[in-house]
Amino acid sequence: MEQKLLETLWGTVADVLPITIIIIGFQALVIRRPIANLERVGFGFVYVLVGLAFFLQGLEMALFPLGKLMAQQLTAPDFLAGLHPAGEAVNELDWTRYRWVYVFALAIGFSTTIAEPSLLAVAMKAHQVSGGVIGVWGLRIAVAVGVAFGIALGSYRIITGTPLHWYIIVGYMIVLVQTIFAPRTIIPLAYDSGGVTTSTVTVPIVAALGLGLASTVPGRNPVFDGFGLIAFASVFPIITVLAYAQISAWWANKTQ
């Protein structure tokens, strides 16, 4: 275990090496000024590195094996067959057969997003910059609802085999219309929240769910249908964050 933890730590160091070199290079050659509170910043950097290594190693030990196993079990033919009384005629492509998959997609999308460190970082910053108007939890829950809905809808798409781009294009259209009506200050943050949601925690489990579904459902090819869940999880949070801001503004107007 110590060995693995060290390996993860080394991987994390290698991962942040380019960024460190760029920052030190620019700091030394272009800016030519010492960093304020260098010691504190240095310790913070080490905390981030060690923290990330523990976090990733812990996910590898606790969450990923179980999450992937569950995604496979929920999409396994045996489990799906067990949901029907013996002898009942079953339409294999009936999308309601996969009801537990949708519930799982919703629940796992929501809960992994709440634990996503990148989203936490952005929420903390937004809370600070907005002077407390945007709550850390409000933003995170809005994003998590978007991811949950996106992944559930993405699962439906894989099961029904409908083309990915129509869903995404309709999603963009909704974003476009909301952008016209949403409060101006929330727009950049809402767009950002699409990109930060799908990171360390969510991606591996969601990918396992997508590949599991695409290899179980008859007529689907994991190569073509297994991708795309991440895309769903990046569009829908934009919609829910914009909606959150619109509802907040509407509520504030009404109660005034």
């Binding site: 090496l17 929501f110 907005s130 781009h165 950049p188 990109g195």
Partner: protein
């Protein structure tokens, strides 16, 4: 133990609790199975808890102040070309080594080989995967440059983003079918846990140090560009390659 650390620790616990509840519910109620390797899972959960706490602590101490101080230093220096060069290096450098991107690029090479777009040799795949990685890294570097330029000039974010989305939609109709899923997904995987706090602090720091910019309206949006341009560049790569 300092009280701040303890407070972060308790916060992390509640951040991670929903996952435990979901896993427990599905494992015991829906699938009706025991938890395998309980000890390892408990140790792993403890690691996740400690890791998240340290990460958040380090964020406030190290990454946020660093991003902001860089932004202030560049604003004081007043040289746009150095700032843009830094923006490009930051975007390109953090993306090209990103493990999630490496995984997706290899997967994409397998898809391309199966779809007979490239030869099924090991070398053809490696070249394709490397080309894809460089394409995505270039696109993220380009995105941060455009995003920083937007903050400096004060362009409204929505026209650029919506223009980008229209670009994605138009390209979808011309790109080969097998690249579309990968292209759409590559937008989401490029922004890593390390990059997001730094880039966010940089954007907000720039917007607060340039007169006439509002950190809320102008400071955010860099990540949005970084998740949009890879889709366009990867589809273009699929059309050319």
């Amino acid at each position: 133990m300092p009280p701040v650390f303890l407070k972060t620790l308790i916060g992390s616990f509640f951040d991670l609790l929903p996952i435990a509840v979901v896993i427990g519910f599905f494992q015991f109620v829906v699938l009706d199975q025991p938890i395998p390797n309980l000890v390892e899972i408990l140790i792993g959960s403890l690691f996740v808890l400690i890791g998240l706490t340290l990460f958040l602590q380090g964020l406030e101490m190290g990454l946020f102040p660093l991003g902001e101080s860089l932004a202030f230093a560049f604003a004081r220096k007043g040289s746009l070309s150095w700032l843009l060069l830094f923006a490009f290096a930051l975007g390109f450098g953090t993306t090209v080594a990103e493990p999630a991107l490496i995984a997706v690029a290899n997967e994409a090479a397998n898809v391309a080989a199966e779809g007979l777009v490239i030869g099924a040799t090991e070398q053809a795949r490696a070249e394709y995967a490397l080309g894809l990685r460089l394409t995505v890294a270039l696109s993220v570097g380009f995105a941060i440059v455009i995003g920083v330029l937007r903050i400096v000039r004060g362009w409204p974010v929505q026209y650029l983003i919506i223009g980008g989305y229209l670009g994605v939609i138009v390209m979808t109709f011309f790109a080969p079918a097998e690249i579309i899923g990968i292209a759409y997904d590559s937008g989401g995987v490029t922004t890593s846990t390390m990059t997001v706090p730094l880039v966010t602090a940089l954007g907000v720091g720039l917007a607060s140090s340039i007169r006439g910019r509002n950190p809320m309206v102008d400071g955010f949006g860099l990540i949005a560009f970084a998740s949009l341009t890879p889709m366009i560049f990867v589809m273009a790569y699929g059309m050319i390659g």
